[in-house]
Each structure stands twice: as structure tokens, then as C-alpha cells.
């Protein structure tokens, strides 16, 4: 297919957006009974990065993981079933939205304790190196996570041992309701922190999927050719509340107009305009994409809703491996 890669970027972002919009829409039915941190507005980072990864490359993430999981090829049905707490969920309902996993597709783990997957990802990547594998690990982290001590300890070790890892920092300027300004000194630059550990660093616009994609291609080349880690910092913005299905701009914790500015920079809309202009895709094709995605989403929600809850004996399983 002509322009397959470009079309895929669009399709993947649109799919993630539509999945999360449906989660938001159905959340009020109170059947997805776990906290959900939606990535609406941040899809370009997940997609621009993951489209360059191979199936056996590994991705790890934190509390806001849906986009990363789906972009890496994580199974949609298993993710939704996990949100519904069903036995067909990717962790059989034990984890919920904040503990996604799909080993088959290289989505290794996500946990909600901020920063905690960073060193674990370094370890996974270090093991790749020791095993002389050509695979790499990508770990997604937020701007908030760079305030944890373990972030620095992980950068140091990754650099020290030349670990094949791609750190992707999604800087959305907020940790819950707290702006960067009340958490980090104005002179502090996240990318420079990585650089000062001797790590090759890129920065860019996290709402521009082409830019993210180009940067990631270079980053991966560097990791593989130079056998060294890379750090990417991308600016982006969360549209909805930190946790939950609704907007919360009315609370006034963000500057007036800040959200609108970012909505105008919607990663999906702006890329759509670009690819239509360049005749990479037609409106008809887009309509078709929407139809396909809708029907996949309908099927997947039906699957999740119709699946059974886990049996009681699961409660005491998996505490130890026999």
C-alpha cells in the first residue's frame, strides 16, 4: 500500500482517541470500576514512538498507559476486559487500568507508583544487552516522574552501562493539579538532566506525530549503532482531568486559554490536515477508517461486558510461583 506508514500513524492515533472517548462515554455506567487516566490529547507521542518498535522490543509505562499499550499493539479486548474487572482481562482483573500488560506484543508492564518503572525498564534493557539481543526497551514517563530520585539513579546506570533504552518523557506540564512552576525551578530543563548524565537527548513537539516519528527513528538508530541510551523530551498536553472521564478545566488550576491553545494543536486533527493536503489519504478513506475502528470498538466492549468475572480461587493465586 502506498504511504502505508503515514496512514498507520493516523489510524493508530485515531483508534486510541476513539477507544478512550468510548471509555469516557461509558464510564458513567459504573461498570469500569477502577481509576482511569486518559491520554486524550497526547496520542502522538505514543504512536510516533511505538510505530518504530518491533514486536519483540519492549515498552513500559506508568499510570497513564492506555495509549502506550495500544500503540505497541496491546490487545484491545484484553485491555477493556481488564477495566471491567473480568477474567479475560490482560491481568485477569487483578490490576485494572493502571496495570496493563501484553507480553505477546511487547508491552511489558505499567504500574501506578510514579517513577517506579523507570529503573525496572533499565534493568530489562540491561538484560537485553547482557543477552546480546538486538531489542531495545522504551520507557514512558511524565514530567512529574523526573522529580523522583530513582529517575536520576536510573539515568546514571543506563549511561554507565550503555543500556539499550529509550526514555520518553511526556512533558504535559502538570502533575495532577500542580503546574511545573510549583514543582521545578524555572532553570531546570528535563532534557538537560539526561544530557548531563552523558545521554544523547532530543526534544520536540509531542503533538506533531511526524516530528516524534522522525526523532524516534534517529534515536533508535543511535541506540543500535552506538549501543547507548537515548532520552527524548516531548511537550504535550492532557485534555481531560488527571484521573477520570471528564474535563476539569473549570476548576481553574490551568491558565485560562491554555487548554484551548492545545486543543487547537490537536495531534490528530493537525496530522489529518497534513496528510489530506499531501493527498496521502482521502476523506473517504478516513470515513472508512472510522467505521472500521468503531466496529472493532463495539466488538471489544461487547467482549469485555459479556466476559465473566474471575472465580474466587484467583484471589489467592499468584502470590508465589510454585
Amino acid at each position: 500500500m502506498l504511504n502505508k506508514f503515514e496512514k498507520n500513524l493516523y489510524y493508530a492515533m485515531l483508534r486510541i482517541r476513539m477507544v478512550e472517548e468510548r471509555i469516557a462515554e461509558l464510564y458513567s455506567e459504573q461498570e469500569m470500576r477502577c481509576p482511569v487516566h486518559l491520554s486524550i490529547g497526547q496520542e502522538a507521542v505514543a504512536v510516533g514512538v511505538c510505530e518504530h518498535l518491533q514486536k519483540n522490543d519492549i515498552v513500559m509505562s506508568a499510570h497513564r498507559a492506555h495509549a502506550h499499550y495500544l500503540a505497541k499493539g496491546g490487545d484491545l479486548k484484553a485491555m477493556l476486559a481488564e477495566l471491567y474487572g473480568k477474567s479475560t482481562g490482560c491481568a485477569k482483573g487483578k490490576g485494572g487500568s493502571m496495570h496493563l500488560i501484553d507480553l505477546e506484543n511487547g508491552f511489558f508492564a505499567a504500574v501506578p507508583i510514579v517513577g517506579s518503572t523507570i529503573p525496572i525498564a533499565v534493568g530489562v534493557a540491561w538484560a537485553f544487552k547482557m543477552k546480546k539481543s538486538t531489542n531495545i526497551v522504551t520507557v514512558f514517563l511524565g514530567d512529574g516522574a523526573t522529580e523522583e530520585g530513582v529517575f536520576f539513579e536510573s539515568l546514571d546506570f543506563a549511561s554507565l552501562k550503555n543500556v539499550p533504552i529509550l526514555f520518553v518523557c511526556e512533558n504535559n506540564f502538570y502533575s495532577v493539579y500542580s503546574n511545573l512552576k510549583v514543582r521545578q525551578a524555572p532553570q531546570r530543563k528535563i532534557s538537560v538532566l539526561a544530557e548531563s548524565h552523558g545521554i544523547k537527548t532530543f526534544t520536540g513537539d509531542g503533538n506533531d506525530v511526524q516530528q516524534v516519528s522522525k526523532m524516534t527513528r534517529e534515536a533508535i538508530k543511535f541506540i543500535k549503532n552506538m549501543n547507548k541510551p537515548v532520552f527524548i523530551e516531548l511537550e504535550t498536553f492532557r485534555w481531560l482531568e488527571h484521573c477520570g472521564p471528564n474535563g476539569d478545566d473549570e476548576l481553574g488550576y490551568r491558565e485560562v486559554g491554555e487548554l484551548e491553545k492545545w486543543i487547537k494543536k490537536c495531534p490528530i486533527e493537525s496530522y489529518k490536515n497534513t496528510i489530506i493536503e499531501k493527498s496521502i489519504v482521502t476523506e473517504t478513506e478516513i470515513t472508512q477508517m472510522i467505521e472500521n475502528i468503531s466496529s472493532e470498538i463495539n466488538d471489544s466492549f461487547n467482549f469485555a461486558k459479556e466476559s465473566v468475572f474471575p472465580k474466587l480461587e484467583l484471589l489467592n493465586q499468584h502470590i508465589y510461583k510454585d
Binding site: C34, M98, H99, P112, I113, Y177, L312, L315, N316
Partner: protein
């Protein structure tokens, strides 16, 4: 007297402490945010200023050391985390530094800090957001650990904790925040280390703490209607532990059930049963029984979480067995449609 919520009681105690002592500081992720840590810090920054009431970086470990340092140099900080688990990043500072400091320097410097931690439960919180780790902290000489079960005690104990010259771990159960109790509007103190006789009875003593006190009281109410008289001791403080109140009660009733708020192994219930059997073994007419969280991580799905937490009915089952009474628990605790992964609206208080 007014009835106010537990979360409002925490807010009032913090407000009182800030007002009363200019050296008190409030620090925590989300302290000044629109939700104000479940309403427990709302409006305080506006009232006392950013230099006394503040947000912080996502740096639990560093901030615990920093508030320890600030306390060594004249301040009385209250540090808040929205979940117990976030304090685990700072366990070194808490256990090796804050808890040991006064002892290590032979009494030359003390660490007057309060660390407020919230125990999560329900709505699929999952394995990393719903742990009740009081026994970890209570294991450490040098730390005080308090766990009020109602608004009145929450206010009085928080004021006492701030005024205490030692590090105090103040544990709040998320499901208590919206319960009500009669609370004086002025400041008052509930002493650390004193349990409360939450209900008088003669057949059996339930010793409990934090949220499980509510389940114990519910159990006692129901059993009372069936001629079983239950005494409930609310520990309020885990360390120091008021063994006198526990021993007095069990000496009288001669039977002990401990309703633990956390896991039982190596937990608060282990300690209570040890103290009772060490001291008044001869008074007991049967072996003590404990009940607590299922011995596994807490699962997210309600299908499993509903079986993870013990409830009034489970305590009643233990007691009826202990007293050799046949009671139909399904009649005493009829099934309702209330989902079990959100707080029971009938647990409103006062207690």
C-alpha cells in the same frame, strides 16, 4: 454539638495548629489544589500563605528528609501523602533517620514531624493503592502511630500529633473521610496512646482500629438484638499501645476477637493477642480469634476485592462460633444491593 465530617475535622485540626503555632507548616502533593487532599487542606494556603502551606515536587524521599531537617531547625511540619504507598519511597528517611534521630544523638535533637498517610480502598484501587501498613511503622521504636476512627478523635489526635515532639505517623482510612461525628469547634487534644471504649458489653471484646471499628460496631449493634453483648475497644493509637484498656476489657469479658485493619500476619492483631495471652491467659475462657484482610495483595476487580475485606458479618460469624450460639447470619445481615467497593452509605456516624 456540631456534626462534621472526618475530613473537615482534619482540616480544622490543621487550621488550629497553623493558627496556634507559627512554626507549623503543611507540605504535600496537592495540598493547595482544588480538591485539597479530599478537602482536608482546602483554603489553608489562602489563609496562611504559600510560605506555610505548600505543594511539593513529586519527591517523597527527598521531601521527608527535608521536612526532617526543617524540624531540626525550629519548625513543625505536617507532610501529607494521598496514599500510604507513596511514603514507601521515603522509608529510609522515616525509619533510619526521623525515627532514630533523638536516640542516636542521646536526646540532643528531636524530630517533631507528622506524616499523614491515607489508606485507599474500593473502586478497583488495586495492589499498589490500598495497603494498610500500620504494623510496619508500629514496628519501629521511635515512631508513634495513630489511626483515629472518627471525626472527634481525628481532630484531637491530629492536634496532639502536631504538638508531640516526635515523628508521628497519622493514618487515615479513605472510607472514614465522609463519616460524621460530634466535634467541638474549638481546639482540643486526644492524648496519643489512649484507647477508647467505643461500646460497652459483657460477652466478648472486639479490639479494632481505624475503619474496622465501624464494622465492629455494626456487628455489635446487630448481635445486641440477639442477646449477645459485645464490647468494642477502639485502639486509636497503635504505638504507643494502650494495653491497659485492652486488658481491662478482656479481663471482664474473658473473650477476645481482634478485627485487624490490615493483614494479620505480623500485624496489629498479632500484637494484641500476644499482650492478652502474655498477661491474662488465665482469664480467657477460649482462644482469641483474629480477623483481617485476606493474606494476598488487594486485587482490583470487585469480584475478588469483595472477598478480600472482612465485614461486620464475618466478625459476627466468629463471635457466634466462639459463644457457641446458633444465629442465622443471613437474617442478621440481609443481602442488600449496595455495591461493596464503595463506602456503605449507612456508615455515616456518629459512632
Amino acid at each position: 454539638m456540631r456534626e462534621i465530617k472526618y475530613s473537615e475535622a482534619i482540616l480544622e485540626a490543621t487550621d488550629f495548629s497553623l493558627e496556634n503555632d507559627p512554626s507549623v507548616l503543611v507540605v504535600g502533593l496537592g495540598v493547595p489544589d482544588p480538591k485539597g487532599i479530599f478537602g482536608t487542606t482546602s483554603g489553608l494556603q489562602e489563609k496562611y500563605g504559600e510560605h506555610r502551606v505548600m505543594d511539593m515536587p513529586l519527591s517523597e524521599n527527598g521531601m521527608t528528609g527535608i521536612i526532617t531537617g526543617v524540624s531540626l531547625n525550629g519548625f513543625r511540619p505536617i507532610l501529607t501523602h494521598q496514599r500510604v504507598e507513596f511514603a514507601l519511597l521515603s522509608i529510609e528517611q522515616i525509619v533510619n533517620q526521623a525515627a532514630k534521630w533523638f536516640y542516636m544523638n542521646a536526646g540532643q535533637q528531636n524530630v517533631p514531624i507528622v506524616i499523614r498517610l491515607i489508606i485507599g480502598r474500593g473502586w478497583g484501587q488495586g495492589p499498589q493503592h490500598a495497603q494498610s501498613l500500620e504494623s510496619w511503622f508500629a514496628h519501629i521504636p521511635g515512631l508513634k502511630v495513630v489511626m483515629p476512627s472518627n471525626s472527634y478523635d481525628a481532630k484531637g489526635l491530629l492536634i496532639s500529633s502536631v504538638e508531640d515532639d516526635n515523628p508521628v505517623i497519622f493514618l487515615e482510612h479513605r472510607w472514614l473521610h465522609n463519616t460524621f461525628d460530634n466535634v467541638p469547634s474549638e481546639g482540643y487534644r486526644v492524648p496519643i496512646g489512649e484507647a477508647r471504649l467505643a461500646r460497652k458489653g459483657s460477652d466478648v471484646t472486639i479490639v479494632s482500629h481505624s475503619y474496622m471499628v465501624l464494622e465492629s460496631l455494626r456487628c455489635a449493634d446487630v448481635l445486641a438484638e440477639h442477646g449477645i453483648s459485645v464490647e468494642v475497644v477502639d485502639l486509636r493509637s497503635i504505638r504507643p499501645l494502650d494495653s491497659k484498656t485492652v486488658l481491662n476489657s478482656v479481663s471482664k469479658t474473658k473473650r477476645l476477637v481482634v478485627a485487624d485493619n490490615g493483614w494479620m500476619h505480623f500485624g496489629v492483631s498479632s500484637e494484641i493477642i500476644s499482650i492478652v495471652t502474655e498477661n491474662i491467659f488465665d482469664k480467657l475462657i477460649c482462644a482469641p480469634v483474629r480477623i483481617g484482610m485476606n493474606d494476598s495483595p488487594s486485587p482490583s476487580t470487585r469480584a475478588l476485592a469483595n472477598h478480600y475485606y472482612p465485614r461486620a458479618k464475618n466478625i459476627a460469624e466468629v463471635i457466634s462460633k466462639m459463644l457457641d450460639k446458633t444465629v442465622d447470619l443471613n437474617i442478621l445481615f440481609p443481602k442488600t444491593d449496595i455495591p461493596l467497593d464503595v463506602p456503605d452509605p449507612s456508615f455515616r456516624g456518629p459512632f
